[in-house]
């Protein structure tokens, strides 16, 4: 399955936040560690609500956590879903 067109800097932000673990972030946003892993890898695009909660944990604007990669073409499945 292709990676998402939405890129993120969660890994970097976790590192800057006293090396916050994936589990700690998951607990703070009310998600599972597997979901955080999937988001970081680009295997899952979170809902707007979860994206805002993640940005809120790092006290950062949403667009600094998630960026949209315009150069990456959408695959057929993503067009259908969106």
């Amino acid at each position: 399955m292709s990676k998402s067109t939405i890129q993120n800097s969660i890994r970097k932000l976790r590192f800057n936040a006293d090396e916050m673990t994936q589990q700690q972030l998951a607990d703070k946003v009310g998600a599972s560690r597997q979901t955080i892993v999937a988001i970081e890898k680009g295997n899952y695009s979170p809902s707007l609500e979860l994206a805002f909660r993640i940005a809120h944990v790092f006290n950062t604007p949403l667009e600094e956590v998630f960026t949209y990669d315009e150069n990456k073409p959408l695959d057929k499945k993503q067009i259908t879903c969106n």
Binding site: M1, G30, S32, Q34, T35, A38, N43, Y44
Partner: protein
């Protein structure tokens, strides 16, 4: 392997084992002549209802045993929370299972149209039920690993 993946594998095998054991039990009684599955459709209804009850009880027991073994081996006491990704995976997997069952449902009517005996439809229903459960749990494992 995550808790959800292990649970899906347990679901596949427990579903298969329960259906095979129950199926053999019913078939054995049919061979003994206690009832005739080819003619008595009332028996099919009773068999299905008992199977649902047996399946629910057996699954509860298997799930408790699985959770105990998982807790002992991984030291993780709490069951991982079901978040939005988990719900999305379940939804997609259920959709795949639904399509599988729908196809089997059509297959059952195709068999009837071909002149096969009526009881074949019940057999196809049982097989499609097992098949759709396998598809659902396999889909869950796939989406957990590859992403959605």
């Amino acid at each position: 392997m995550t808790y959800q993946e292990k649970r899906s594998i347990v679901n596949i095998f427990s579903g298969l084992i329960i259906a095979i054991i129950y199926g053999l039990f019913v078939f054995h009684r049919h061979q003994q002549g206690r009832f005739d599955l080819t003619l008595d459709y009332k028996v099919w209804g009773i068999i299905f209802l008992i199977f649902i009850g047996v399946s629910i009880i057996a699954r509860i027991i298997i799930y408790i045993i699985f959770h105990i073994i998982n807790t002992i081996t991984t030291k993780e006491v709490e069951i991982p929370i079901s978040d939005e990704r988990e719900k999305m995976i379940n939804l997609k997997a259920r959709s795949n299972a639904y399509h599988t069952f729908s196809l089997s449902f059509i297959a059952a009517f195709v068999l009837l149209a071909m002149g096969k005996p009526f009881y074949w439809m019940f057999i196809v229903f049982i097989i499609s039920g097992i098949l759709s459960e396998i598809v659902e749990n396999t889909s869950q494992i796939y989406y957990h690993r590859k992403g959605i």
